[in-house]
Symmetry: D3
Subunit: 117 residues, 6 copies
């Protein structure tokens, strides 16, 4: 079942992103473009950038954004310990209000691991 | 099925609003009252006010508030292009953290259109 | 059915909290510890502290945090009227963007009451 | 000098509030009205309500709102220890991002005490 | 003196924007570009877009962003009454936490008017 | 003059932190303790952690927190280019509402550099 969280999230995300971009709204298209751009290898390595995206997302309490960056972190081979260290900084900075999102982050990470089995 | 999102949202919203107002808490009642008041025709036309309500809701990342104002916009005959332009400003101001809410906004707008068929 | 909201929430919360703490991340463990600590009887009575936790949670628009504090308030014997007064201050301070969370707060409180029947 | 923070804050606040209300905008006037209303004695005592206003303000990181409620707390005779307990809950809930506002809250409280000397 | 708020704000803003763009960071440059782009005449008239920018800024409680959009609104000939109506919607949506920013918005608007005399 | 921003910030910060900790409030003391703890070398290197602290602070729009982490980054020898890359991710995630804080971040970084001359 954990498997489904990942699949469902990605299916919905892809389907709706397509619809967002169909409209040819310039702002939307460029922001999406920049989003891809911002996380490519730069002076900072890709891994650091993904951890930054993850940390920012948790502190802003956006479950879907957390999921997205958890998945990219996972695919880049970042270890759970590294991910948890980044998340723990966001917990401290953002306070206990962040905890419910942390629970869902753990659930998603577990689902990513289960998926590979 | 898209149809159901709209119906479900409105049914839950009405049912719970009734319960909120049953208690006769003065603050709650007056805030609800003001909420109706604020979006009536004024120096600014109703449509502009609804777009403002929509834009504010997206930037504050409140899905239910976005849905509510999308529906009012829809009923006022505001076009999808106008709505998307307002949403795109909120995306720029609020950043990519807003994207998941934008996806759900698009889904709801589609459901509003489907409902009429 | 209302009964289930409470049970489901608590079951998920306990299960995931356990996983969060299994990792032995120092920050996570200490924040959880402090969270227990902060709401014990102090110069301020426990009830006031729970109302503060509730009010803060609503204004920050965290449904799960609101639920958690509603339940503790309920178990401490705080009346619905007192709870609603605290919530109404958060509504005023936080604005109408808070309303959807207020609806869900009312639903949860009702579920807590139903559970006892 | 600490004396001046209090005086300056209140002078600016009064002067500008007057201008806000001069316009006869209905929403503004009613919100201001509700704001007075919400903190009067109710089922919850005035002191608890002021602590709620203070806690909500800190967690939302609004220095001026924190100052306003600190002053009302001070005038109601709430002790520093009680105020700090309320603030500490907001620190925990809101995270370390709250610390700079806590520093300014302490400075204002000190200014309130100095003023009386 | 009111005159100075406007001049100071714009001088600092221009000076620092130049430094931000000197670095040739792609994300920064494109976001700045989009920012210009988003507020040009579109399906929605320029005035509506500026009011949206203003409303979003107030609800997110960013004084500098509010000032920037107030100034553009002023230069587009939007009346104070229209501006206040937009601001009042943001006050209702965002809650009393918005009031200190509203005070500073009024002060800036007054400074814009004084400047012309 | 740029020199003064750094000195003033640090002097105020130290003076007020001392007062915060004098009170012996357990929550405050432990949060401060954790704050030191969270940014020590771990599975993630110190530099990555500081960049995370910086990114989180910008996205939450806390000028003082940004300043604090900029200074630690500077002292760890992180280059301006690396810092700007981290900031640019926060700009994209957090939106244009972040720009005024970015201006002040640049000003502070410049002050840090000037200080060394």
């Amino acid at each position: 079942m954990a498997h489904n969280i990942v699949e469902e999230f990605n299916a919905y995300r892809s389907k709706m992103n397509e619809k967002l971009l169909e409209d040819n709204n310039k702002i939307l298209k460029r922001i999406f473009n920049l989003d891809t751009n911002a996380f490519t290898e730069g002076t900072l390595p890709k891994k650091t950038k993904e951890l930054l995206g993850l940390g920012n997302s948790l502190v802003l309490r956006c479950d879907d954004c957390v999921r997205y960056h958890l998945e990219t972190c996972y695919n880049l081979g970042i270890s759970k310990e590294e991910v948890v260290e980044a998340l723990s900084i966001s917990l401290l900075v953002g306070g206990t209000i962040v905890i419910p999102h942390l629970r869902r982050a753990y659930e998603y990470w577990e689902a990513l691991q289960t998926q590979d089995v």
